[in-house]
Every structure is written in structure tokens, then in C-alpha cells.
């Protein structure tokens, strides 16, 4: 029997917490570091760096992920009277935070979200940019709390100078980061119970799904595609952790053994043909219009087991790249695909 969270008899959440991606998770793994604007590491531009930075869920690799209740200490400039639930006008320029805010019933206080925040449907999408956040544009919505996943310039400093509370929650490196971020959003919005319920619900659903994975002698292998030039993830990433719950082995781990590519290498096509993974998951169905059909048409790919057996799985790019509440849906698709293989 495959134990939930791969942690044997131990308590699930703490078992997950121990999975650090080779020290790449800046300040996120412990989840309790505060998130003042000065804390984040920044990076230089350049196409190569950008190309890596924008890959899939690693949108903001260099920004420290913030989690834990202490994150609310970033509410500088908020009158003490506002505690514990003072925020009535929340702006989210993080797709993940948007999903989390609505999932903890704080959605009615969200007045604006960025242009990429397309879920849930009732989220008040605006043309605010999450890639190049503009302080003035954000202030135009008169927020008292701004949630970001990424601070490329001095957006956080600018907002705080204007007396607006900010919460910077970068990319999650582990499932524990996701739960910590939800908890932090619960604390800062005052919806503590809703956040706790969401986390508990997600954890039990994830555990149930993991427990439902059929036993097999040889673990199945998978390849998770981020774009049609074969950028992929290794098992040291957040996404890799989700696949591990379904008992899958990553076929691309050799492409980034030391984490030099942050777990997001560009895989050699011939290596993939040789590795011949049992399952291919496409997280580039929207960005790059890839389907099981286009994959089968690629040169040489007709020899792949996953292509001949029809185990090329088309994922929703968004669900497969956001570390929010819908990771449960992602794991469900993965587990269903795994269990469909006899």
C-alpha cells in the first residue's frame, strides 16, 4: 500500500515539510520567516534568466516564499484597531493568491485581481499586470491590502510607503508552503477558521487520493511537459512532489541532478525517447496548443509507449502550474491516469 505523503506512519503535514528541494527554497521551507519587502532576493534580467524565471510554476523562483502567521507582521502602516480582520479592499496580483482568497471565503473583499487571475470566474479580473506590477495602477483601486507573488522592482516598498499593507507570497517549493500560504492569508484577512478548514480539507483529500493509488511492483515513470521545446520539471520541484504522491518516478531527474536549473531543465529529445516514460503529462495545452495528437506527430515520438498506449494526458496549464487549492484537482487527474493503467 502506498502510504499518503510517502511518510509511513508519521503525521502527514510534517512528513511533507521535510522535503526540501536541495536548499533552493529560499526561506520558504521553514515557512515562518517574515516577509518584509527588503527580504527578497532579486535577480538581473537577460533572456536566459527570464526564460527560466517564467517557466511554469517557477514564475518567481528568486523571490522568497512567505508563509506562516508571522507574515502578517508585514502589515506595516495598518492601524492596530484594524486587527484581526481589517482589510476590506484587497487587491491580488497573484493568480494563486486569488484562488486561495476565494477558497477561504475572502473573495467578497477582493476588489481587483491581475489580468492573469482567471479563476474563479467571479474574480474581478482587471488589466493589472502581475509581471510588471505598477504601484500607481494598484493604488487606483484604493486597496488596504495587496497580495503579490513577485516583487520585481520596488512595488512592495512603494505600496508600503503609501500606507498599504502587503503580503508577498512567492512560488511554493513544497506542499507545506501552499498550506502555510493559505494559513497566512487566513490570518491576514481574519478568515482563520476558513483557512484552517481549507487546509485540513485539502490535506485529507490529497491523502485519500494518494491512498487510492493502485499498488504495483514496478513504479511507473512520467514526463511533465512545460512547453514544446521540452522544458520539464524534476522530482525536486513542487509539481514533482505532487507526482510522487501518485507513486510516479520522474524520467527527467538526470537532466538536473544538482538543481542547477532549479529543477526546470530543458530535456534532450533523444533522452526522452530512450527513457520512454509510461505517462506523458502536457502542461502546455494552452500556452503552446499541444495535444496528444501533436505529440504523436513529433519526429520519432511515435515509438513512445505513452503515445502507442494512449497515456498522454492533457492537463490544464493553469491547474498544473499554480500551487493553490486546485492542486487537489491536479493530483486527481494524475491518480486517475495512473490507475487507468493496468
Amino acid at each position: 500500500m502506498l502510504s499518503p505523503f510517502g511518510g509511513g506512519e508519521s503525521e502527514p503535514a510534517s512528513a511533507v515539510r521535510t522535503r526540501h528541494p536541495r536548499g533552493k527554497g529560499i526561506g520558504s521551507a521553514d515557512g515562518q520567516r517574515s516577509c518584509r519587502s527588503g527580504d527578497h532576493t532579486s535577480t538581473t534580467g537577460g533572456p536566459t534568466v527570464m526564460a527560466h524565471k517564467i517557466l511554469g510554476p517557477l514564475l518567481v523562483v528568486v523571490i522568497a516564499a512567505c508563509g506562516g502567521a508571522e507574515a502578517s507582521s508585514a502589515m506595516s502602516g495598518v492601524p492596530a484597531a484594524a486587527e484581526p480582520a481589517g482589510h476590506e479592499r484587497i487587491v491580488s496580483i497573484s493568480t494563486v493568491a486569488t484562488e486561495m482568497l476565494f477558497a477561504i471565503d475572502a473573495g467578497d473583499r477582493v476588489v481587483a485581481v491581475d489580468s492573469m487571475s482567471n479563476y474563479p470566474a467571479e474574480a474581478p479580473t482587471t488589466d493589472l499586470s502581475g509581471y510588471q506590477p505598477n504601484v500607481e495602477a494598484i493604488l487606483g483601486f484604493a486597496p488596504d491590502l495587496v497580495v503579490l507573488s513577485y516583487d520585481p522592482g520596488d512595488v512592495v516598498a512603494g505600496l508600503e510607503a503609501a500606507g498599504v499593507a502587503t503580503l508577498l507570497q512567492g512560488a511554493a517549493y513544497t506542499l507545506a508552503d501552499t498550506y502555510d500560504q493559505i494559513t497566512a492569508l487566513g490570518a491576514i484577512t481574519g478568515n482563520v477558521d476558513e483557512a484552517a478548514a481549507l487546509v485540513a480539507g485539502m490535506q485529507s483529500e490529497m491523502a485519500e487520493l494518494a491512498a487510492s493509488v493502485q499498488e504495483r511492483d514496478e513504479p511507473l515513470s512520467y514526463y511533465h511537459e512545460l512547453d514544446d521545446t521540452l522544458y520539464t520539471v524534476t522530482s525536486s520541484t513542487f509539481i514533482g512532489e505532487v507526482y510522487a504522491l501518485a507513486g510516479l518516478v520522474n524520467a527527467a531527474d538526470a537532466a538536473d541532478p544538482d538543481g542547477a536549473s532549479w529543477g526546470y531543465p530543458q530535456l534532450s529529445a533523444e533522452y526522452l525517447l530512450d527513457a520512454d516514460p509510461d505517462l506523458i503529462f502536457l502542461a502546455d495545452t494552452r500556452c503552446c496548443s499541444q495535444t496528444a495528437v501533436t505529440v504523436a506527430e513529433r519526429p520519432g515520438w511515435e515509438t513512445l509507449t505513452a503515445v502507442t498506449n494512449g497515456t498522454v494526458v492533457e492537463l490544464d496549464d493553469d491547474v498544473a502550474s499554480r500551487w493553490g487549492p486546485r492542486i487537489v484537482d491536479l493530483l486527481r487527474v494524475i491518480v486517475d491516469s495512473v490507475n487507468a493503467i493496468s
Partner: protein, 354 residues
């Protein structure tokens, strides 16, 4: 300076023994790089079997390579087209670079000088952002990139002509710089408006040789043929142009018309190369200089040798790109610049010394 020698003796012994020796060396380099290219990769396949597999692909020849279906696909569907594409793209970039340097009599000229890179970048970005679907089974991105590259070069060429008066080479270069910046501005704007496609745009810019197949080869081949034939035919006029416009006129050449025709051919090849491979730097700059340094400045040698050694260089650079971090890929532009930049500096310092 080597180019002086070329000017004094433009007919620098094209058919001499030395010239033929260099030509054979070039052909040898192409063959060696091709063999290394199909035999090397993250997956180990014995050379003997690779060669038997390739022989099996020849018409009327039946050879059992005893390779698995996946290995056969690796050799024939992945490595072989990559090698051919590397040879073609490298040849086109180096050949057109040599032609540009000859036409402008400027050692810093490269195939991207007149806005080809910016035009192709804009075209690719638009195709990606507009989510253009496959047209007749062909990926639309290289087609639109090709159109963008030609548009940029044509704009630069047209803008440097006024009331039928053709401007000087410097006018053309400046027009090219202006057009390139203009196209880059539009490209950046389109990209920022559609930030969700950033990843794809950068993947294109960093080069798509890693996922290229025979479809890209078929796309490039007709343009490569026109460009290679055109460049080889241009060696005479290029040598005459090297002497100077007045002398060229007395020799019966219309320098401005000749210059335009050569640039058109070179630009066509460079644009087609960029469209299928993305932006690969330094090949068009470094290879012709290296050739000039070792084999002399006559275009009778520089053009054919640039085509041959340029192809071999890029095919080998691609081998490095797919093996140095195997099984991860490294963008090929990183390799060409990493090797090309120091090499270029060495040449530069040698020229300063002499």
C-alpha cells in the same frame, strides 16, 4: 592586414593547389562534423550501428542495423535532421556574414546587421501571440519570422534609397540600425501586452534546433540552395568591389547594383536560417574572419570556405549543446558565443599586432 592582401591581389589564386587543399579541408570538416553529429548524443548508440542505420535509409539498400525502434528514431528522426540543419544554418550564417563583410568592407558586419534578427523576432512573437495554427502542416512561426526578417531588410534597403539615388553603404547600415530598433520596440511592446507567451518567445529566441526535424530542413532547403548558389556566383563581383567603386566601374561592374544583389541573396539565406533556428550569434562574424586569416582574403576562397566551415562549426557546436549537460540541453547560442567571442578577440589582437 589580410584584407590588404586581398585588395592587392583580388584573384588570390582561387584555383591554386593551396586553394584546392583548403576546399578539401572544408569538405572534410563537414563530413567529420556530420559523423560526430549523428554518432554523439545523450543516448549511447554504437557508431557501427548508426552507420548501418543510415545506409539502410539509402534507396535500394537493405542493411539491418539491429537497432530498437526508439534508437532508429533517435538516429534518423532526431540526430540526422539536427546535423543537416546545423550544417545548413551554419553555412548560411557564415556565408552571408562573409558577403556582408565584403559588401560593406566592414569587418564588424554580420548577417543580422540590417535588422534580420529584430524582424524575425517580431515575426515570431506575432505568430506566437496570435496563436496561428499550422498552415498546411507547417509550423507558422518560422514562416512569419522569415517574413518579418525579409520585411526588416527590405525596409532598410528601401529607406536608404531616395529619389532613385542609392545611399552609401554607411547610409544602409544606419537605416538597418534604425529599422532594427524600431522592430525591436514593437516586438517588446507586443510581448509585454501578452506576457503569458513570454516563455515561448524566449524559447524561440534561444534557438529551436533542439526540437527541429526534417520538416524544418524541407522548409530551409530551397532558400539555402538559392543563397548558396547566389553567394558562390558572387565571389567575382565581391573581389572586384573590394578594389573600390571607381575601379569596379572601369572593370564594367555597376557597384551599387551588384552590392544590392549580393545583399539580397545573403539576406534571404540569413533570414531563412534565423526563421528555423532562432537567433544564433557569432557564427556569421567569426567564421569568415577565421577563414580569411588562414586562407587569404580573396572571396573565391572566403565564400566557399565560410559556407563549409560555418556549417561544420555549427554542427559541432550543436553536438556540444546536447552533450555537455546531457540529458539537459544548453542553448546553442551560448556555445557559439562562448567559443566565438574569445576567438574573435584573438583575431582582433593579431590584426592590431600586424
Amino acid at each position: 592586414m589580410t584584407s590588404e592582401a586581398g585588395r592587392l591581389n583580388p584573384d588570390g589564386g582561387g584555383r591554386s593547389l593551396l586553394g584546392i587543399r583548403w576546399l578539401l579541408a572544408g569538405v572534410g570538416a563537414v563530413l567529420v562534423s556530420a559523423v560526430i553529429g549523428v554518432a554523439t548524443g545523450p543516448v549511447a548508440i554504437p557508431l557501427g550501428q548508426v552507420i548501418r542505420e543510415l545506409l539502410d535509409r539509402l534507396p535500394l539498400l537493405e542493411v539491418d542495423s539491429s537497432l530498437s525502434a526508439a534508437d532508429r528514431a533517435i538516429v534518423w528522426d532526431l540526430r540526422a535532421p539536427r546535423v543537416v540543419l546545423g550544417l545548413l544554418v551554419g553555412a548560411l550564417l557564415a556565408g552571408s556574414g562573409a558577403a556582408y563583410q565584403g559588401v560593406f568592407r566592414n569587418p564588424l558586419a554580420d548577417p543580422y546587421l540590417l535588422g534580420i534578427a529584430a524582424g524575425a523576432g517580431l515575426g515570431a512573437t506575432i505568430a506566437i501571440v496570435a496563436e496561428l495554427r499550422d498552415v498546411l502542416g507547417v509550423d507558422p512561426v518560422p514562416l512569419v519570422a522569415f517574413a518579418g526578417a525579409l520585411m526588416a531588410v527590405t525596409a532598410a534597403g528601401t529607406l536608404s534609397v531616395r529619389r532613385g539615388r542609392v545611399g552609401s553603404p554607411t547610409t544602409l547600415i544606419l537605416a538597418g540600425v534604425a529599422v532594427a530598433n524600431f522592430f525591436t520596440a514593437i516586438q517588446t511592446f507586443v510581448q509585454q501586452q501578452n506576457s503569458e507567451t513570454l516563455q515561448q518567445v524566449f524559447a524561440w529566441i534561444l534557438g529551436r534546433l533542439s526540437t527541429a526535424g526534417w520538416a524544418e530542413v524541407r522548409l530551409l532547403l530551397p532558400y539555402a540552395a538559392v543563397c548558396v548558389v547566389g553567394l558562390v556566383l558572387a565571389v567575382g563581383p565581391l573581389d572586384v568591389l573590394a578594389v573600390g567603386d571607381e575601379e569596379a566601374s572601369t572593370l564594367g561592374l555597376r557597384p551599387r547594383a551588384a552590392r544590392r544583389a549580393i545583399l539580397a541573396v545573403a539576406s534571404l539565406g540569413a533570414a531563412a536560417a534565423v526563421a528555423v533556428s532562432g537567433l544564433i550569434g557569432f557564427v556569421g562574424l567569426v567564421v569568415p574572419h577565421a577563414v580569411r586569416l588562414v586562407a587569404g582574403a580573396s572571396h573565391r576562397r572566403v565564400i566557399p570556405l565560410s559556407l563549409l566551415f560555418g556549417g561544420a562549426f555549427l554542427a559541432l557546436a550543436d553536438v556540444v549543446a546536447r552533450t555537455v549537460q546531457a540529458p539537459a540541453e544548453l542553448p546553442i547560442g551560448v556555445i557559439t558565443a562562448f567559443v566565438g567571442a574569445p576567438f574573435f578577440l584573438v583575431i582582433l589582437r593579431r590584426q592590431m599586432a600586424s
